[in-house]
Each structure stands twice: as C-alpha cells, then as structure tokens.
C-alpha cells in the first residue's frame, strides 16, 4: 500500500505517495523528475546513484524512499547556485573530468562530501573517497586532477 511521505530535497519540501519498495533513486527520478541521479547497477557497485543524505554520500538505489523521510537530501540538481556552477563542477568541466557524464553526478557529490570533511586531501585520500564511484571513460586521472583543482578553488573562496 502506498503511503504519504515528506522528502526534503535540495532545500525544498515535497509530499509524495510511494510504495515501501520505492527506492530513493526511483522516487527522485520518477516522482520528482530529478533525473540527474542515475541508476546504474542497482546493487551498490557503481555509485552512479550517489546522493548526499544529511551530507553523507549514500546509494539512493539501496535506500528506501520511506527511510529518507526526515533527512536532508542533496542531489546534483541542488549543487549549482542557479546558473552559477559550484567550484567542484567548474573544476570538473575545466579539467576535462567529464566524458559521457553518467558517473559525474555521483563523482561531484562524493567530492563535495570529501572536501567538506577534508578540505586538503592527498591523492590517496581522493582515490579512496571516490573508490565507490566507477567511471568507464576517463581512466580516473582527470577526475583526480579535478578534485585537486576543486580543493584549490574552494580554498581560494574561503
């Protein structure tokens, strides 16, 4: 049976009716139309569905929508400030860390959480923080470079 839940996504409150089996990824994409969150493997291997739940990178495909009620969810749609890209997004674009783009939302969100926890990460720490987000295009080097660049940009801003 469907139940009414309240989700706070990118600062906005939404009321939706979902079955308990609805995953957060499905609720975001189908019920809220936020298709920036990708569904890749659905079994917690690829990280394409990464969203931040209370600031913590989480698989939205392995989180039930009903479980997310009462928590703050940030998806890739909420990262930029209007048309102004977030420094992490700018770095990804300028360094060339995006090819097909399927993994990018997850990569950007995992990077945000990393830089929030550790503003000055080493290369090892970056690789470790992104180890749950798979990319089949870039070979990762440009993504690592982008994270370093993003850390620099964010430091300049603060």
């Amino acid at each position: 049976m469907k139940r009414i839940i309240h989700l706070k996504v990118n600062g906005l409150d939404h009321e939706i009716a979902v079955e308990p089996r609805r995953t957060l990824a499905e609720a975001l994409r189908i019920d809220l139309g936020l298709t920036g969150t990708r569904i890749g493997c659905s079994i917690g291997d690829c990280g394409a569905c990464t969203v931040l739940i209370d600031g913590v990178p989480s698989f939205s495909c392995l989180t039930l929508a009903v479980e997310a009620e009462g928590h703050e969810i940030l998806t890739i749609e909420g990262v930029a400030d209007g048309n102004k890209l977030h420094p992490v997004q700018e770095a990804f674009v300028e360094v060339g860390a995006i090819q097909c783009g399927f993994c990018t939302p997850g990569m950007v969100l995992s990077t945000l959480a990393l830089l929030d926890y550790n503003p000055d990460p080493t290369e090892d720490e970056i690789r470790r923080a992104l180890s749950g987000n798979l990319c089949r295009c870039t070979g990762y080097q440009k993504i690592i470079d982008a994270v370093k660049d993003a850390a620099r940009r964010m430091k300049e801003l603060s």
Binding site: L62, L64, N133
Partner: protein, 322 residues
C-alpha cells in the same frame, strides 16, 4: 528492476521493535539495517544471456534469475529510527558498540582505532565509502558471510553479542554466533542490540589483514586477524581468526595455544602461522585456489601477529610518555 512488494515497519524504540517482532514471529519478516546487503539480495538478478556459452546467437536476451530469497519477506522492519542502537561508548574497561553503528562510524572513531585496532582495520577495508556510510556493524555480523571484514577481527578480539527479544536478553560469544554462510543462532524474534569488548588492563594489540585483488569493493581472497595480550613480556592470551577459508569465520585455537606463556618472538610467530595454515580449509573459486589460499594464511597470520606485537609495544610506549 523493481524490488518485490513488502510492508514496511519503522519503530522508534527498541521496546516497540521487540513488541512487533514478538507478534510477527511466524511471518516472513526481515530486519533492515543499512540495506547494502538486504536490498541487493531482495532484487531479482538479471543476467544477459550473451554470457551463456550455449547461446550461439550472441543476442542480448534478458534472462531473469531468481533473487537470493525463495520467498521474499512480507515485512521489512527498519532499525534506522531507533537512536539507542547507534553509537560507540566506553564504560570502565568495556567498549560497547550499537548494532546500527555504521562502518564509517567505526572507521572514524578514535576509541576503535586505539583500543580495537583490528576492528578498525576491518572497517577501513570494507567495501567502498558508499557501502561504509550506509552499511552497519550489526548488519555485517548478522549477514554472517565467511569473509565479513568486521566479523573476523570481532572474533579475534573476543567480541560478545547482546541479543534481545521480548523474552529477555542473552549474551553470546562471536565464536558461537555463526552457524554457516548467512546463518546465525539469532532467533526469529531476536535483535542484535550491541557488541561488547572487554579490554585487558595490560599490553594488548590486534590487527586484521585482508588479501584482495582491488583496494575497494572487494571480497577478500583470504583474511587473517589476531589479538594478543602480553603481560610482563609473556603472552597470556592469543586468538587467531581467519576469513574466507571455511564456511564461516574460523577461530584457530591451536595456533593461539602455541603462543601462550612465551615471548612473542619471530620463531613463535612463524610456528603459529604454520599451524593456522594447516587448519584452514579453503575452497577453490574465481578469487583464488585452495592451495594459494592456504599458503597465504601463513603469510597473513605472520604479518597480523607482527603488527599486534608492534601495536602492543607502541601502546605501552605511548602510555609511558603521557
């Protein structure tokens, strides 16, 4: 592929959860922790028939394969809204860790890192950040996989599990907890509440080493954990446990026995490691051959014991300087 239908229960207190568990004893009910295993197992798997060598056409037929459950559960009881189940606390010479504590909580905890180093090693190496952020300690133990990265060190450290139901509470050793792959002594109306470690008041050290092909998202080829208590330079307790070499986490008392009442010398470590490797009963699969795994048990046990020794001595030095 959508999840099968189920009803969802989300109690906000342990009492409420136990009440529900008692009432639903005969129904198919599963406890939902972080969901990083359960929701994967619930989903029907789909494989492309192109991987089937008998398929000559090499077309991508989609062939559904049954999920891990013969019958999907009717109810999922979520533990995530029970605040009491999450957290790490020190009480006298005990460390008590709630079952819903996430693997990331373990990894970032100073108490765990300093006092339960082996468990910290396990949490550090488990899955990927995304798995660690949602996945829980209790979930990893109750899933009872033979290679579970927190189970092997928990067993070496002599962790005790508190199981609670409406009927009461019981405390069991991790040694007796796992029966086989995915199977534990936990009763249908019981919940794993917390895990308790007793800390010795003399020198001690623990370590867990995982041998794997990748650094992340990996199930170990072999894992070895050790925990050693040393008094006046003499070993008074030694426990060695192995992962991925038997249907369940394997305690090797014979290897620990060899170290007792002596100094922890390289020679003794070598002997214990050889014994551990003799007791391992691994299988051959795509992760590694049985012979390879058996040889690696010796290497990993040796290294784990050496790290234990270094940590025990280092802890003493740190105490002395403070």
């Amino acid at each position: 592929m959508r999840l099968p239908k189920f009803d969802y229960l989300s109690p906000t207190s342990l009492t409420e959860a136990l009440e529900i568990m008692g009432g639903y004893k005969n129904r198919r009910l599963k406890l939902l922790g972080g969901g990083t295993d359960l929701l994967v197992d619930l989903r029907d798997k789909v494989i492309l028939d192109v991987h089937n060598p008998h398929n000559q056409e090499h077309r991508c037929h989609i062939k559904p394969v049954q999920s891990a459950f013969n019958e999907p559960p009717e109810y999922l009881l979520s533990l995530s809204r029970i605040a009491d189940l999450r957290g790490i606390r020190s009480e006298g010479n005990k460390i008590i860790i709630g079952a819903m504590t996430t693997i990331t909580d373990l990894e970032r905890s100073d108490i765990v890192k300093k006092k339960l180093s082996g468990l910290h090693d396990g949490a550090w190496q488990l899955g990927s950040p995304l798995v660690r952020n949602r996945g829980t300690y209790g979930g990893n133990l109750c899933n009872a996989r033979p290679a579970a990265d927190t189970a092997i060190p928990t067993m070496a450290l002599g962790g005790k599990l508190v199981l609670i139901s409406k009927r009461g509470e019981r405390t069991v050793e991790h040694d007796d907890f796992v029966l086989g792959p995915g199977n534990t002594i936990i009763m249908p109306d019981e919940i794993l509440k917390e895990i308790i470690f007793d800390l010795p008041d003399v020198q001690y050290g623990s370590a867990y080493i995982k041998l794997a092909n990748r650094k992340a998202l990996e199930i170990s080829v072999v894992g070895a954990a050790a925990s050693v208590i040393i008094k006046d330079g003499i070993v008074i307790s030694a426990r060695i446990t192995l992962g991925a070499v038997a249907p369940k986490p394997l305690l090797v008392p014979e290897a620990g026995q060899l170290l007792l009442d002596r100094e922890l010398t390289d020679d003794n470590i070598e002997k214990a490691a050889k014994t551990a490797s003799k007791k391992a009963k691994p299988i051959t699969d795509h992760r590694g051959g049985a012979t390879y795994r058996t040889s690696m048990v010796e290497v990993l046990t040796k290294r784990a014991l050496m790290i234990c020794r270094a940590r025990a001595l280092n802890a003493e030095r740190m105490e002395a300087s403070s």
